[in-house]
């Protein structure tokens, strides 16, 4: 009797669960039902300053344009703290539970690459405005980005380096982003006839660089490439280099745009050169940043990422209103779309989902990066 009762109870429970899972089979769209869009990025942790700027721009766009297809837009924000595993789980959750067709993210390249298999399999758009790893170019059909790949960034950087120096030293962090960037830079610099006299990688969490910097000092390098994968170690490297009296010019990457870089490196940040997307801060861009400052009480760590993220939201909103909320239709539309004139520049996508926006050389001056004139 007991067994039959248990079996019956299990059956009832099973049926109840299944009933809950079945979507409204009528196919009617409830116009008051929220249109959910996913977001993955580092909202806490070491790269939180970039993640939050990226998120805030999305928030600002949808605060101004709250309706899509007559439905209120709800962005579901997931914190992946720059971690691939967390990002993959967040993508699964957004796709299976929130039933999103579009995910904004990730910020770190590791996040984007880890989320891509799930979005590809489920035909959901994954659209990053910050991840620059060259591997993203070929990581999927449903994967788009409007930030330029490091492939383009290294072209610009090598063009600059090879005209000024013949011997460079590279210090790079052992993570997806920094290693992919380092590899590209090294290949192209060697091809351009330069010599890499020191190429040292360090593990995440390293905080004492004095002995490595001593090696740089003894290597005869004419410039130091500081390829940390996070703002904090980038700042520590600059700081300890100055303390050691290492007076080489320092080139870096876009993690230096994080607030922590300037906070840690202070005056040792000055003069560092990076390659990153930057919108000329013309009059048309200023109101957006002003709005950002009023809303969030601080300037974003990088203006460019706010512009890119804002444009991303606008492009996706345009796509949804044109073809409806369906991953595959949005994908087809994005590949074919007319050039979009946004706050970050003109965007069109190539057959890999990479955009036409180009990076520029920026220099640190008075605690900020500005375009090298």
């Amino acid at each position: 009797m007991k067994k039959i009762l248990t079996l019956l109870c299990s059956l009832v429970l099973f049926a109840a669960c299944n009933m809950q899972k079945t979507p409204d089979s009528s196919g009617n769209t409830n116009t008051s039902e929220a249109l959910k869009i996913g977001y993955i990025g580092p909202l806490t942790g070491d790269t939180a300053s970039l993640g939050n700027a990226d998120k805030n721009a999305v928030e600002m766009y949808f605060a101004k344009h709250p309706l899509l297809l007559g439905r209120p837009v709800e962005v579901v924000y997931e914190d992946a703290h720059c971690n691939g595993e967390a990002s993959a789980s967040a993508a699964e959750k957004l796709i299976t539970q929130d039933k999103v067709q579009v995910i904004f993210g990730g910020t770190c390249s590791g996040e984007t690459l880890a989320a891509a298999p799930a979005t590809e399999k489920n035909k959901v758009i994954l659209f990053s405005s910050v991840s620059t790893s060259p591997e993203i170019t070929t990581a999927g059909d449903y994967l788009f980005r409007n930030v330029p790949s490091d492939e383009k960034a290294t072209d610009v950087l090598v063009a600059e380096l090879s005209t000024k120096y013949t011997k460079i030293a590279i210090i790079s962090q052992n993570n997806d982003f920094a290693q992919a960037y380092r590899q590209k830079l090294k290949e192209k610099f060697l091809k351009a006839g330069g010599e890499v006299v020191l190429d040292e990688a360090f593990n995440t969490g390293t905080t004492d660089f004095k002995t490595v910097l001593q090696k740089v000092k003894n290597s005869g390098a004419e410039t130091l490439i500081n390829f940390a994968g996070e703002s904090a170690p980038a700042g520590i490297i600059n700081r300890q280099a100055t303390e050691l009296g290492l007076s080489l010019p320092i080139y870096g990457n876009d993690v230096m745009m994080g607030a922590e870089f300037f906070e840690i490196a202070k005056n040792a940040a000055e003069g560092s050169i990076i390659v990153a997307t930057a919108a000329e801060s013309g009059a048309e861009n200023d109101p957006l940043i002003q709005e950002y400052v009023t809303r969030y009480g601080e300037e974003p760590p990088s203006l460019a990422y706010v512009f890119l993220s804002y444009d991303r939201a606008a492009i996706i909103a345009q796509a949804i209103s044109k073809v409806g909320y369906d991953g595959t239709k949005i994908k087809d539309w994005l590949y074919e779309m007319q050039p979009y004139e946004g706050v970050a520049g003109t965007t069109v996508f190539d057959h890999n989902g990479d955009s036409s926006i180009l990076p520029k050389l920026l220099i640190a001056k008075n605690g900020k990066f500005e375009i090298v004139k």
């Binding site: 939180a48 593990n203 300890q240 100055t242 303390e243």
Partner: protein, 287 residues
Amino acid sequence: MVQILLNGIIVGGIYGLISVGFALIFSAVRFYHLPYGAVAIFGAYCTWFLQEHTGLNFFASASIVALAMGCFGVLFWEFFYAPLQRKKTSAIGMIVASFGLLIVFQNLTALTFGNTTKTLALTDTIVPGYNFSGLTITYNQLIILSATVIIAVLFELFLQQTKWGSAIRAVGQNHDLAKIIGIPSERVIQATFFLATAISVLGASLIALEIGLRPTHGFALILKIVIASVIGGIGSVRGAFLGGLFLGILENFGIEFFGANWQDTVAFLVLVVFLLFLPQGIFGTRR
């Protein structure tokens, strides 16, 4: 090469200083107080907070916080370990409980002070270091080296020359015998927790001058401390200091010869070698 040795001595000195407190606690209570590193980092955050919000200088802030955190350290014994020991919790139980507390404390630090890096500084601008016949020593390194030497000497004098110092050593050497000859072991353990925590906070604040503060530094620190104590001989206070020194030097030579990404590998390799071939460490007694 001498420059690498110098870098190693400075980093190692600070590992050593912090390991001393850890070894002291171990010798008194015979278990690993793993939240030790996280508490030290929490203290360093408090130093930062005090310096930032009251205008006190670094040394005053660090000393005040060290005293306050010392008292806090005693609470660990009173309200956490002592009740567990009264319940006759096994050694493995103590380790697990202690590890749990480490995680809790690390997250508490993140919750209180946030995840972004905080920087402690003696000067407003970053200045190049001093050059002595080809050797460079940075301003921070000079301060760290001097402070480490002063604290280590004072501590050694305290242990060797004072009544409390002798009592702490006696309890460390033979807990039961110390009790029989009338040493109030409970009070001595409290004093040990106070002293060890205070020293760890001073050490962590000095480290923070170099590398800034992040909640996760607590975990990284305890790993280094454990390795230093194994090298020196578990429970040996002088051994822990020398173990830290040795580790710092070895790590820096590891970077020089094998590359920066081998720094941690070198540290753990040393741990394995010691555990296999010299488990009692340099100064430990063979059991």
